[in-house]
Subunit: 349 residues, 2 copies
């Protein structure tokens, strides 16, 4: 089969690789129907994180189950399934606590699973999925083609935006600021609207992303950044700041802006992968009582809650995909996202 | 009158100072019935924070109202009142949001208030209290002498321990670890028990403090610290860590221990004044989804909730006072706490 590898910064190739084979008993082989490129995939692409040797890449996909191991009970051949951006057992204490990203048995796509077998990455034609019964969620039936992009967001971006909102404590009556207008930030706007936020202030200076933010439920837009952005937020929030700020970027600057945009006693929900390891100023947090909570999103735990609304069309997060390419043109997909010509690119094998 | 001044590290004096006078209209003069020494008072005492010139010190006191300004409506001459460790209006947006420590009109004892008048510090015979109607809470009637220590804890330590527990999300079914066995840590144990925690693990290696922790509701004790302490907590919590960790010290080491003692998706509630400005490792928080929330405790907002239980004897936080001295011997009080001969010293004029 073919799958995507990164060889070096800027060097993405769709190459012949070995077909996956069932090996651990509880695994499944999924034929990928759609995959996509994540903002975090751009880090090795841009050389921000090193690429020591060529390796498989991609962690968001949906598809159809072709084979299952002898221990698989819940998932069946022929199921259309959503895979979270990691694999997990959904039976250990961390999974049951709602944090399947800290699964005691799980792992990451493109790496060896805990049983020593290779788990393919997501941007390929087929993927061996460890812990198939835990990791995969089957849809009620085979979806229409138009529904596929929306379902695909449950692999990562929609669940991650939802996690930001949940971590920040978004709810009715709250004023929410969203820092970051990438696909995750936009999904955080949508998640905040879904959770009943009163006001949603999206920070964005790109017309196309502003339009999507509005469509997803943003009630106000702020184009300023940094100090000016904080000043504008304060102006819009009675001088004190917002109840909740969702940090969906991951830089020192964006986290700083988030912390300073929250009112005393407010909360920052963060899902931006910390880039360059920024540290949080504890003294500032002590003085203002602004809490910080979030991290790598346990999207698997959210699929059951979000899927019914995506399935019946009430929730349409797939609008974040503004470009679709054949998977063989995956290098172009990375280029389009790197150059910010696309918010998020969907790939079909 | 007489009041306490710090002249330099280790140099505490009870000296003649000018009598306070009403000056802003909304203020009151309170005759102090009991005051005490705070762990944070030891910082300038130990030279951890600088003392550039002699100044008034102390911020925890209860007393009887002797005079009120013409604008004061709620508080009356003769009331027995509890003062929080800061003054606040209880009318601005931050006060109404529950964070009176960020009052837009308030200030700190021993400094000029926002109207340019000096607010006496707490370890003195009398105190001018700005925003008397906001800051002070009157008890239902004149308390028995035996009740005074318990009421005094509502000025700071009990409210601060409660804030740690609230910030950490303590509630029924939770396993809570308390880092720090000072008066605040012990009050955090008591607050956790009051809020219905299932298990409360107190980290302490001092027999007297262990005994008080047990009396306050600790179900387990851990004597180990640092790496060994974290290992012991993991052992006691099914290998993953506690739901909630309350950080009541304020050093880099204690915060690190707290973060590593929480389970994935757990929460650190912190009230230890950050000593030396430790920063939080955002990447660790990202990976584990452990949230951090807390800070300078808005104890004024908690007095109404806690006072009835203290008043009727159900809640007895005053047990943290294990030494009582006349206020004229305040220098000995500092020495006893500095040398850890006392958990917390109560002073009577």
């Amino acid at each position: 089969m073919h799958a995507t590898l990164i060889h070096a910064p800027g060097d993405i190739r769709f190459e012949e690789v070995p077909d996956p084979r069932l090996s651990t008993g509880g695994d499944a082989i999924v034929r990928v129907v759609a995959a996509c490129v994540c903002g975090s995939d751009l880090w090795p692409y841009r050389g921000v994180t090193p690429t020591d040797e060529p390796h498989r890449i991609g962690h968001e996909f949906v598809g159809v189950v072709e084979e299952v191991g002898p221990e698989v009970r819940r998932i069946k051949v022929g199921d259309f399934v959503i895979a979270p951006f990691y694999d997990c057992c959904m039976a250990c204490v961390n999974c049951l606590n709602g944090f399947s990203t800290s699964c005691l048995n799980g792992g990451w796509w493109g790496e060896d699973d805990r049983m020593g077998a290779f788990a393919d990455a997501g941007q390929g034609e087929r993927v061996r999925v460890p812990h198939a019964d835990g990791s995969l969620v089957a849809t009620p039936s085979m979806p229409d083609d138009a529904l596929v992009p929306h379902l695909l967001t449950l692999s990562d971006v929609m669940g991650t935006g939802h996690h930001a909102a949940v971590s920040g404590g978004v709810g009715p009556g709250k004023t929410v600021v969203v820092v970051g207008d990438g696909a995750v930030g936009l999904c955080a706007v949508l998640a905040s609207a879904r959770l009943g936020a009163d006001r949603i202030i999206a920070m964005s200076r790109h017309a196309d992303r502003q339009a999507l933010a509005r469509r997803f439920g943003a009630t106000e837009l702020v184009e300023e950044r940094g100090k000016e952005g904080v000043a504008r937020i304060r102006e819009l929030t009675g001088g004190v700041g917002a109840d909740v700020v969702l940090e969906c970027v991951g830089t020192k600057e964006s986290m700083d802006q988030a912390l300073r945009s929250a009112r005393p006693g407010g909360q920052v929900g963060f899902v931006g992968v910390p880039n360059g390891g920024p540290e949080l100023p504890l003294r500032v947090m002590f003085g203002t009582n602004v809490g910080v909570r979030g991290g790598v999103a346990p999207v698997r735990n959210y699929i059951e809650e979000l899927l019914p609304e995506v399935w019946d069309g009430r929730l349409q997060p797939g609008a974040v995909f503004d470009l679709e390419l054949p998977m063989s043109e995956v290098a172009d997909a990375y280029r389009a996202m790197d150059e910010r010509r696309a918010i998020k690119v969907l790939l079909r094998p």
